[in-house]
Amino acid sequence: MTPALSVRNLRIEIPTRRGVLTAIDDLSFDIAPGEVLGMVGESGAGKSITGSAVIGLLEPPGRVAGGEIHLAGERIDHLPPERMRHIRGKRIGMIFQDPLTSLNPLYRIGDQLVETIMTHQRMTTAEARDKAQRLLEEVGIPAAKTRLSSYPHQFSGGMRQRVVIALALAADPELVIADEPTTALDVSVQAQIIALLKRLCAERGAAVMLITHDMGVIAETADRVCVLYAGRLAELGPVRDVVKHPQHPYTIGLMSAIPSLTGDPDEALAQIPGSMPRLGAIPAGCAFNPRCGYRFDPCTVERPPPYDAGAGEAACFLHAPAFARQAPAETLRQADAAGIQLSIPNGEAAR
């Protein structure tokens, strides 16, 4: 089956006065129709910029410098802005973090929905209004008929985000890009919105690219996860495997640093030393190597491509048999203890 979205070797550059920064470097992933792909990473890892590149809204001077983006088999990264406008909203729906900035405060909710529907579908105003009402009912807004004539400020935060979801789904898109859809909401409302988004996209068979920094949201919602670090793919795999048995040292550190409701609260949280490098100062070799506890010779020289690791893939030399054999036995022992599924048989390590 053709993936709903296919990103191949994407490279995004931002030219600045001090040289060209590479915001995304050689990133490839697919999303199948009906699948939810979570994009996680810390701020500056390149999650949101990837989303912007897919919908063709990269903020200048940022530009796609290499690679291809395919929507249902059709290449979209080099389309002229006019063509892209027809795809955006119709074939790709968007949900952003702050529902207040996605809605025009001066127009009634109903008019905004009707406008979106009529831009993309041939309908009379009355039909579009009916559809708008159905959409509001579907996203769980009580008294949808009267609420059509309300203004955004008359809705609460959670209700506004429901309206934004209705807007994103108005033209039955094949792909929905949700950029931190629950970050601005209270915890008790977050769960409702996640459940709603997941259900509606599943019903429509729409693929979802869910961008968030919250591993909890990913664990609840996504089918597969893509972990980004400094603009590069760290790990990609089924959500259960990545959360329970992470294969990249960065993911391992990230997962154990999250405070949870189980485990001993008196124990200090595991922490990754240092912080993510800035785009202008990404170290040679693997971007994570200065913070990595398993670093060995090739890590500081060469950049690891994604290797098969466990049920997914991880960009780490520990998963490349030819390289892992060079690693010190102690490093391999530690990696094994941390749950990294080494591809070389035990005891085959050098010395």
Binding site: D186, S188, A195, G253, P259, A268
Partner: protein, 344 residues
């Protein structure tokens, strides 16, 4: 003030005295339109009760966490505790001295020195035009702790290494640091006046997880080393579980449940606490069935009568609509819910 000076034994048997005593704290904001608009539009005055009669106490060397969603009044309490916002009623006493009471300028300075605050956004709380060294030296100068400039510089270096930065970083400007490092600078500044009570208002919610763990561990480490007392404000229950000794759960300005952290997380009593815990995304992926939570927080200007939580409560009773529940003792917890009333 009955608890004042009274030593209370905690779970480990160590005698710890009460450092912070909050009694009947209340804050009302006047949101009325100007007089002329009220006359023309025939509207009355509008008041928002952000904090509605909150009592709690914090013992020396402990962390008291206040949890709640937006509009619950947690930041308002923090501001009143550090002396940035006067309470409408009630009192906050720190080490016996009322924060808002009348006192001599000398006593005022002594008290202020003992209270510090760490803010949420380390990008907004540091002056971008000052070098880090001057930022940290400012409280030392303001309170006249060290007069000799060389000694002061040495103290700044000491504080920087205490929070895990290089003493030479004092020469740099805030923009040269990452979010986590900036929060470390903010912590160093808070420690500069040698306080014993620090109010942390969402200190890690602007940080990434891997950095959040560093800052939480640092706060805990400093508490052990310096015997600090924290009031920790957060909306993240998982974070609270890692730092708190006692937890107070706020809902629309009222403390609905208060309990030692272990008890609260092991056996939450109030329906709202249960709901909050339920809403934390399940990172362990045990596939537990999640109760979908109904409704949203009501408008705090017109909170529901009786128990504020009753419109969203799954175990609501007739009396909840009219009567404000009094506090009930349930084990080690204090719960404001009619479920635990003697009538049941």
């Amino acid at each position: 003030m009955s608890m004042q000076g009274l030593a209370v034994a905690n779970e480990t048997g160590v005698e710890r005295k009460t450092l912070v005593e909050v009694e009947g704290l209340r804050r009302v904001f006047d949101l009325s339109k100007p007089w002329l608009n009220r006359m023309i539009e025939r509207e009355g005055r509008v008041f928002l009760t952000a904090v509605d009669g909150v009592d709690f106490s914090i013992r020396q060397g402990e962390t008291y966490a206040l949890v709640g969603e937006s509009g619950s009044g947690k930041s308002t309490i923090a501001k009143m505790a550090v002396g940035l916002l006067p309470p409408s009623a009630g009192s906050i006493a720190i080490d016996g001295a009322d924060v808002w009471g009348k006192k001599s300028p000398e006593a005022e300075r002594r008290m202020r020195r003992k209270i510090q605050m760490i803010f949420q956004d380390p990008f907004a709380s540091l002056n971008p035009r000052w070098r880090v060294g001057s930022i940290i030296a400012e409280p030392i100068k303001a309170f006249g702790l060290i007069d000799d400039p060389l000694d002061r510089a040495a103290r700044v270096g000491e504080l920087l290494s205490l929070v895990g930065l290089d003493p030479r970083d004092g020469q740099k400007f805030p923009h040269e640091f990452s979010g986590g490092q900036r929060q470390r600078i903010a912590i160093a500044r808070a420690l500069a006046s040698e306080p014993n009570f620090i109010v942390c208002d969402e200190p890690t919610s602007a940080l990434d997880v891997s950095v959040q763990a560093q800052v939480l561990n640092l706060l805990r480490d400093l508490q052990e080393r310096l015997g600090l007392t924290y009031l920790f404000i957060s909306h993240n229950l998982a974070v609270v579980r890692h730092v708190a000794t006692r937890v107070g759960v706020l809902y629309l300005g009222r403390l609905v449940e208060e309990a030692p952290a272990r008890e609260l997380f092991a056996a939450p009593q109030h329906p709202y606490t249960k709901m909050l815990l339920e809403a934390v995304p399940d990172i362990e992926m045990e596939g537990k069935d999640r109760q979908s939570i109904a409704g949203e927080i009501p408008n705090p200007i017109t909170p529901p009568a009786g128990c504020h939580f009753h419109p969203r409560c799954p175990v609501r009773r007739p009396e909840c609509d009219v009567e404000t529940p009094p506090p009930h003792r349930v084990g080690d917890a204090t719960v404001r819910c009619h479920l635990f009333g003697s009538a049941s």
